[in-house]
Symmetry: C2
């Protein structure tokens, strides 16, 4: 065929678009797309992860992504599962199941908050990705090893997930709202100061209790709030253990 004969480099004829000069693009992959999306997430937050933004980062157009990903929703779930793969899972030790469950929850929180507001994707989602299922399996294994009944463990893993998601979102939501130029932490501190001033200016006759404990309401370090709620949940779950035969 003459059409496939290796013709020498002719100049592009006049009036004809160059079509495509040199596309030595490394081929697009779902994995590579997710990698890039997470890079954008870590740098600028979940809101910045748009189809166009990811495509631009890959040097292409948004339409090219739809060959490897059904849409934005699937991309976000793939990102979440990739992040979930970073969570270090424990080997169940029945003697220490409460501590292990507490540690695992802290580890989940650590990984989630280290990727901005990725927890927003998890909220209200059934874990179907392989790594998310690994995490759920680990939580359930710990509880079952500790003697928590099936029915309780089934509800508890859901409650725990809700608590983890909500906590991670609350922690990152303020930092994400900071303008792109400024230091997020400094911005957050300024915001807290405004909240304190607002609460102090409230009419004490309408809000007597709130007005009397402004300091206690503001002194809400995210880590402390998390530990408090997590302790409540873990102890509450433990209260459902059927045979309480401790060694001692």
């Amino acid at each position: 065929m003459a059409t496939t004969r290796p013709e020498p480099e002719l100049p592009t004829p006049p009036g004809r678009k160059p079509r495509r000069t040199a596309p030595p693009r490394q081929p697009l992959t779902q994995e590579f797309i997710v990698d890039t999306a997470i890079r954008v997430l870590d740098a600028e937050g979940l809101e910045a992860v748009t189809m166009r933004r990811v495509a631009q980062e890959l040097g292409t157009g948004p339409a090219s992504l739809y060959a490897h990903v059904s849409g934005k929703e699937e991309l976000r779930e793939l990102m979440l599962d990739r992040v979930a793969a970073e969570i270090r899972l424990p080997v169940p030790d029945p003697e220490r199941w409460q501590e292990q469950l507490h540690e695992l929850a802290s580890e989940i929180r650590r990984v989630f908050t280290s990727h901005r507001d990725i927890a927003m994707v998890s909220m209200g989602m059934v874990p179907t990705g392989p790594h998310l299922l690994d995490v759920a399996e680990a939580q359930l294994a710990l509880m079952r090893a500790g003697g928590v009944p099936k029915e309780i463990a089934g509800i508890a893993v859901d409650t725990l997930g809700m608590f983890l998601d909500a906590g991670a979102i609350e922690d990152t939501i303020h930092l994400t709202k900071a303008p792109p130029g400024a230091d997020p932490w400094e911005y957050f501190q300024k915001y807290i100061g405004e909240v304190r001033a607002y609460f102090n200016a409230l009419p004490p006759d309408r809000y007597p209790v709130v007005s009397g404990m402004v300091d206690e309401l503001i002194a809400m370090d995210g880590e402390q709030r998390f530990e408090f709620g997590l302790g409540l949940l873990v102890r509450g779950i433990a209260s459902y253990v059927e045979d309480e035969e401790r060694p001692g």
Copy 2:
């Protein structure tokens, strides 16, 4: 100025748009805007509450809203506070503070879930609206009347709020995803069926615990899950009461 002379009613010149024939528009109000926004929310969910949609519902353009509302964020917060006004608040009875706290939480959940996914607005937000403050005041008053220390109550009201928001979101998020034509509940049931099938098809050698309790994981009626977690939290908060002097 001749341009401002009150000319008699001339017929509109040919080729000239009528400008505005009879604009007996009832004047736009922040309250009326919020009313309309909530009507859209109840009918089509929070996602449908856009500036354009609300303006269209009012028979005007999106720009007109910005005279009474600083932007979408403020509109959403105003909507939330309006919804919070529907929450019936208890008169504290120190003898029954735990039951009252439980009942108040259930009431909050009832009102929130009755307005689709309005809870998404509350997530990660500091309650500053008057009615939201009323609710916080009521929660704190109950706990303080029950003898919960200030520091604990300050954290607990936040944890409780997180739990309420997350629960309401989880309950409504699936219903909101239903296509506009179909019955949301039927759609949700079909989804649950798919989830069960997916879980049953998981490889048992990788997910032994999950595979062994599919029924317990699926049997998650929203109300039951809520009652379970709420009981955990309320009992946990009560365990911090300093002087446990019950009458009896």
